[in-house]
């Protein structure tokens, strides 16, 4: 049973460029959340996708956008990259509808380390 996978592992971009990060959820999961984690900080929620729609969004600008595909995999796109976008980007998957009975855990991928020069 594959866990959450993310690609690429590392990425180096320059300011103003655009980047796409990819995530495949744990088998059987249908909800994908994206987090940004700066060095020495806890993960910050970017947004969550369910049924191919953005369901919730954190305090991030419109430069951050995403998509969920019918197979539940997801992409995170960041436009007009800034130096401050350098961080570890984490994808987490969960199963909607299990709220009443589950331990309500999220399964995180290994992350994509983005460096903006």
């Amino acid at each position: 049973d594959a866990g959450v996978t993310q690609s690429p592992t590392h990425l180096i971009k320059t300011r103003g460029q655009q980047v796409t990060l990819r995530c495949s959820p744990k088998s059987g999961h249908d909800t994908v959340s994206w987090y940004q984690q700066a060095l020495g900080q806890g993960p910050q929620f970017i947004f969550q996708y369910y049924e191919e729609e953005e369901r919730q969004r954190g305090n991030f600008p419109d430069r951050f956008s995403g998509h969920q595909f019918p197979n539940y995999s997801s992409e995170l796109n960041v436009n007009a990259l800034l130096l401050g976008d350098s961080a570890l980007y984490l994808c987490a998957s969960s199963l909607a509808g299990s709220a009443q009975t589950s331990t309500d855990t999220q399964y995180f991928g290994p992350g994509t380390r983005l460096t903006v020069l």
Partner: protein, 114 residues
Amino acid sequence: SQKIEQNSEALNIQEGKTATLTCNYTNYSPAYLQWYRQDPGRGPVFLLLIRENEKEKRKERLKVTFDTTLKQSLFHITASQPADSATYLCAYRRGSGNTGKLIFGQGTTLQVKP
């Protein structure tokens, strides 16, 4: 605004001792708190969840307490080992059920010395 805070200073302890990490929250009353372990360059791994009506939860050498009066959760690792060295994050879910976003503290780094 809702905040969840952990001691940002690293915790250094000797092998075999009990490590105690603190998580405080303000301006919100979460139904439950979660604790995660994160190793460098890796994603967080879920450890324990404690609900507001539970005073204490245990899993092997781990113990979590939840004091809704103090708005605080304590995370204990007994008989600590060097392999326990990692960053530990507490989090609560803002929103209903499994749909809300997780709000994380900044994490506390634990270093267990042999």
